[in-house]
């Protein structure tokens, strides 16, 4: 039995400013994970890498049978036989960060091999060792990252460290 409370900093705000990069926390009304064999047909505009999502409601492609709907209407968790889709409310499952600034991509590249010239249908990426959803939002120099909530503290710390290099 060991008390390691002091060894781990209490998680605080993930927002920070560093030269050439600014990070902010984003609050989304709803995030809904939807799986089904036809979801990429249903949500054909689902965002991958390095797509730019516009507006506040959109779909992110997670894999060939899965999307994450951002700010979509409420749906009941479970399997929907009408659409043959499995639905889970993940609003509290992912924390969302927004990165902007001329060094935003460089900071992310400290933690992953991210090449805008190499597109991917999926927005799923492993950055700083954490599985996240990464895409651009609004313009080509602003990124949004959906981070599993429990991994947010470590992800934000790694991002902050990279931004200071």
């Amino acid at each position: 039995m060991r008390d390691d409370s002091a060894r781990w900093h209490p998680p605080g705000s993930s927002a920070f400013d560093a030269p050439g990069v600014s990070v902010r926390e984003v609050s989304l009304a709803r995030q809904t994970m939807v799986s089904g064999t036809m979801v990429l047909s249903t949500y054909s505009l689902a965002i991958g890498w390095p797509d730019v999502a516009l507006g506040e409601a959109y779909a992110l492609c997670m894999r060939r049978d899965r999307v994450l709907l951002v700010n979509a209407g409420a749906r009941r968790d479970g399997f929907d036989p009408d659409t043959s889709e499995a639905v889970s409310d993940m609003t509290d499952g992912f924390a969302v960060l927004a990165l902007s600034g001329p060094r935003a991509l460089e900071c992310l590249q400290a933690g992953a091999a991210l090449d805008p010239a190499q597109p991917s249908r999926s927005a799923f990426r492993r950055v700083f060792g954490t599985d996240v959803l990464l895409y651009r939002h609004g313009d080509e120099s602003t990124f949004r990252i959906h981070v599993p909530r429990a991994d947010l503290a470590a992800f934000a710390a790694a991002l902050h460290a990279a931004a200071k290099d």
């Binding site: 209490p10 091999a113 190499q118």
Partner: protein, 917 residues
């Protein structure tokens, strides 16, 4: 060797003098100098000592091919060990000290070891220190081993930066071929990155009189300006140190002395290797003496650093040499042809002359070359093969690699015009064979059984005689030769020593050199600090833990947080001794109601028309009969029938299940489910969503739990044990599972993570007392409930835990089924879960063995003092334990024996009345 700094020439800045100290004495150099070049210019002859015999060592190489001048260097608060002086750029105020020498490289008290060389040959300590015990000698030998000393002033702020990068064409080497290739590629519009490990690119170009009609500096400047104008990146002081899987190139970029370098993980469409070539040594008596150096070193010191290392120079070269620059600088130069007979250095502490037959001449310095050795390290890292070239007497890149192409001297193209043509063709992406060359080298390899001490490896004091000893003792493979003699180890990594070593072995055995082969080329090409790989992977980011949504609440309550299964969780709450606090929490939960943060518990949703059959297949237990609204405990097994996870399966609807697996096992279980979903099942009818982090789970456990829930406004109805109820709490969806890990009435309340704090507060206000995971661990052990991985091991099958029914009765297929009927599964003496009782006041040590006649029959898996029972309790895996209930056994731990009795695992409320209360 006097060392003369010329009034002009080189790429140093004479307007910026820099002072520094070496081995306690002050010297002056200029900006652009390396430590080595500044010392050479100052007339310092001995820059280091060899590893074994502590023989004086001078400079052999002017850059990465020198393993003699290794120094501890400090500047300000930074001190770094084992810096190659030839690659360390001089800065004002630097202090350097030669490693492996005391008090100085010039006078080393251990220099007398050399007199014992007859008894210290290769393998001497393997043979000498066998009796009576190697470990008697090991500490002092270990103390003598190693080179520089790590500073006690650890700089925690010295953190390497990491970066991933991309380019179409990566050109390695900024010499003539590299610059030409990069320019050609860039002018075709490719995204080009050129890396060069020196501060000023140009490679050996500065040694030349003219390049394509221009002065070397002008040609370099024009090439660089052109390629940069075409959009290419030039990374100077950046070393490509290794090629890794999938074409990843490791680049180490200097950020100045004392600053941790930047690691760039470069992925390139193609790589043009223009790393150049090194002079290899000639093997002759006294070839290790200070003043004997690579011909290229003498030329480079003159061309880059404006330093003439001696007024009288001997050149012994198998590859020819332009002596004009040396003569123009004022030196008297004599040539020696190695083909005309054995040469020997006349030596004191440093070379004083050269003898060949009856010819003797005194010299300040001797420049030698056995021919060029192409730098093919990265080619070999990338999987390229080598071919032996008799004409060049060197290994050259053979065949083709998809991603990499070697050009210039790295490809054996030593003629400048041909190298430029080859490089430009490579830059354009044109195919092309290695151009023909007039370059020719007569073999000048070590001659076995010749007289005198002749050095193969300068750093480790491996001589020709050592290679002969190794051959006599049948260490004839080059890999064995390397390990037996230490040839090519440490910072040299064979750059200067391998060719001579394998040629010596070839000559001793009468085999051709290519038949002997080379040792394996492994990254890094040059030494890099370990910090390069670490970067920010340190402290909290070394092994980051998952964090609870309620962590701020726990901290406010004075929780002692620790790692439990990859999560930072409360072990206990409040001040006082941990044991007392935990005991209080157990008693509180048993008598009233404990409030436990169970958020890490798995909440993996399995949905779809195929979910029922799938889960029935995944679980050992029959799950297809589970009704909606019900819970069932079960095991998941590996294909080998080993218990992989345990937990509760909840059925919310016909096509909707929740796998509540072990807290520390969620990622593994999710992967397990995904793997089996896609293998042998219909993935289009089964969907797996890991919603663990979307939901927080708060457990209320204890006899007062139902009342607490009512007081907090939680509508659990009359929920019976192992039932599930979906409801809302304060307009937020809530799932209430009545399931117990404590043995008391327990309710797991799952709610959106963002609402967890409000729920926790309401339950506390209703009278529940926070308890940590230590208390919960004791309560579950009192009940004999297991923790997978603690109370099970890599051999535990479900019937070892008392769960036998599905093994014999379940008719549907399930993972691990077949393995439960193997001889191993049926073997007598399998370790089975039991409890242990003993009369002492202190718990048995966890891990202690149950022994019979000195042999282990099992071990204690969990052991605590039970506050509920006021006595120690323990769980154990013991051979045939289930049939030995009541048997007295001996428990042994680190020499202490304990008397114990085997019991049933459950020590508290075996009838289970409390769980349904």
């Amino acid at each position: 060797m006097s060392g003369t700094r010329l009034a002009s020439g080189g790429v140093i800045d004479r307007s910026q003098p820099l002072t520094f100290r070496f081995d306690g004495r002050s010297y002056t150099g200029f900006a652009g100098d390396t430590l080595a070049s500044a010392l050479m210019a100052s007339g310092v002859r001995v820059l280091g000592r060899s590893f074994k015999y502590h023989r004086p060592r001078g400079l052999w190489g002017a850059w990465s091919d020198d393993a003699n001048a290794i120094m501890n260097v400090s500047l300000g608060a930074s001190e770094l060990p084992n810096c190659p002086a030839s690659m360390t750029y001089l800065e004002d105020g630097m202090t350097a000290r030669a490693v492996n020498a005391w008090p100085s490289a010039g006078f080393d008290v251990k220099g007398g070891l050399d007199a014992l060389h007859r008894w210290l040959g290769a393998g001497f300590y393997y043979k000498t220190f066998m009796w009576p015990d190697w470990h008697l000698f090991e500490p002092s030998i270990r103390k003598m081993a190693g080179l520089g000393h790590v500073s006690v002033n650890v700089s925690e702020d010295d953190v390497a930066a990491h970066q991933h990068a991309f380019c179409d064409v990566l050109v390695v080497g900024g010499g003539a071929a590299g610059l030409a290739a990069a320019r050609a590629a860039a002018e075709l519009g490719h995204d080009v990155c050129l890396v060069d490990d020196q501060r000023v690119p140009g490679g050996g170009v500065y040694q030349m009189q003219q390049v394509e009609g221009q002065a070397p500096a002008d040609w370099i400047a024009e090439e660089r300006a052109s390629l940069e104008a075409a959009g290419a990146r030039v990374l100077s002081e950046t070393t490509a140190f290794g090629v890794y899987d999938h074409g990843l190139i490791g680049l180490a970029q200097s950020r100045g002395f004392g600053a941790a370098p930047r690691l760039i993980r470069m992925r390139a469409g193609r790589v043009i290797l223009a790393a150049g070539a090194l002079d290899r040594p000639l093997t002759f008596p006294g070839n290790d003496r200070p003043g004997v150096m690579a011909l290229n070193t003498g030329a480079e010191l003159l061309a880059r650093y404006g330093t003439l290392v001696g007024q009288t120079l001997a050149i012994v070269s198998a590859r020819g040499c332009d002596v004009q620059p040396f003569e123009a600088a004022g030196a008297r130069v004599s040539r020696f042809d190695p083909k005309e007979g054995q040469i020997a250095a006349r030596q004191g502490r440093h070379v004083t002359g050269l003898v060949q037959g009856t010819r003797f001449e005194p010299f300040d310095a001797v420049f030698v070359s056995g021919g060029w050795t192409p730098l093919v390290h990265l080619w070999r890292h990338a999987g390229g093969k080598l071919q032996w070239c008799d004409q060049r007497q060197a290994f050259l890149p053979d065949g083709q690699l998809t991603q990499m192409r070697a050009v210039g001297a790295a490809n054996g193209t030593f003629d400048l015009p041909a190298a430029l043509d080859e490089a430009r063709a490579a830059g354009r992406g044109d195919a092309g064979a290695r151009p023909a060359t007039a370059y020719h080298v007569d073999p000048s390899w070590p001659a076995p059984r010749s007289k005198g001490r002749q050095w193969i490896d300068f750093q480790h004091d491996v001589t020709l005689k050592d290679v002969e000893v190794a051959a006599r003792e049948n260490y004839v493979s080059v890999e064995h030769l390397k390990r037996y003699t230490t040839l090519g180890m440490a910072s040299d990594q064979g750059k200067t020593s391998n060719m001579a070593g394998l040629a010596a072995m070839a000559a001793i055995q009468g085999r051709p050199i290519p038949e002997v082969g080379t040792t394996t080329f492994r990254p890094p090409f040059v030494p890099v600090p370990l910090e390069l790989y670490r970067g920010h992977h340190r402290e909290q980011l070394w092994h980051p833990l998952k964090r609870l949504p309620l962590e701020p609440v726990h901290r406010d309550l004075g929780a002692a947080l620790g790692e439990y299964g990859g999560w930072l969780r409360p072990g206990w709450y409040g001040a006082g001794t941990p044991a007392e606090r935990v005991a209080d929490e157990v008693r509180t939960a048993r008598q009233g109601a404990g409030l436990f943060d169970g958020s890490p518990l798995g909440k993996i949703e399995v949905m779809g028309p195929g979910a029922e059959a799938f889960l029935n297949f995944v679980y050992y237990n029959t799950m297809r009969t589970l009704a909606p609204g019900r819970l069932r405990y079960g095991f998941m097994l590996t294909e080998a029938g080993i218990v992989f996870d345990d937990g509760v399966l909840a059925r919310l609807g016909q096509d909707h299940f929740i796998v509540s697996c072990s807290s520390s096992h969620v990622d593994a279980v999710r992967t397990h489910l995904e793997a089996w979903r896609q293998d042998g099942n219909d993935p289009d009818s089964i969907f797996v969503h890991d919603a663990t982090q979307a939901w927080a789970t708060v457990t209320v456990t204890g006899p007062e739990a139902p009342a607490i829930l009512r007081a907090a406004g939680v509508d659990a109805g009359d929920l019976a044990h192992m039932n599930l109820h979906e409801t809302e709490w304060q307009d937020t969806p809530m799932r209430i599972a009545r399931v117990s890990f404590s043995g008391d009435a327990s309710f797991e309340l799952s709610i959106r993570a963002s609402r967890a704090a409000a729920l926790w507060s309401a339950l506390r206000n209703a009278g529940a007392t926070p308890i940590g995971i230590e208390a919960m661990s004791i309560m579950r052990a009192e009940k004999g409930f297991i923790i997978i991985g603690k109370d099970t091991d890599g051999q535990t099958m479900p019937h070892d835990l008392g769960f036998t029914f599905p093994r014999t009765k379940k008719t549907a297929a399930f993972i691990g089924d077949r393995s439960l009927h193997t001889d191993v599964a049926r073997a007598p003496g399998r370790k089975q879960l039991v409890g242990l009782a003993h009369g002492g006041d202190a718990p048995l040590p966890t891990g202690a063995h149950v022994v019979t006649d000195g042999a282990s029959e099992g071990y204690v898996t969990s052991s605590y003092f039970s506050p509920t029972l006021d006595r120690p309790i323990a769980l154990a895996l013991v051979a045939n334990g289930a049939s030995r209930i009541g048997e007295a056994v001996t428990v042994w731990h680190l020499g202490t024996q304990y008397a114990a009795t085997i019991t049933m695992p459950c020590a508290f409320d075996p009838e289970g009345g409390r769980i349904h209360a």
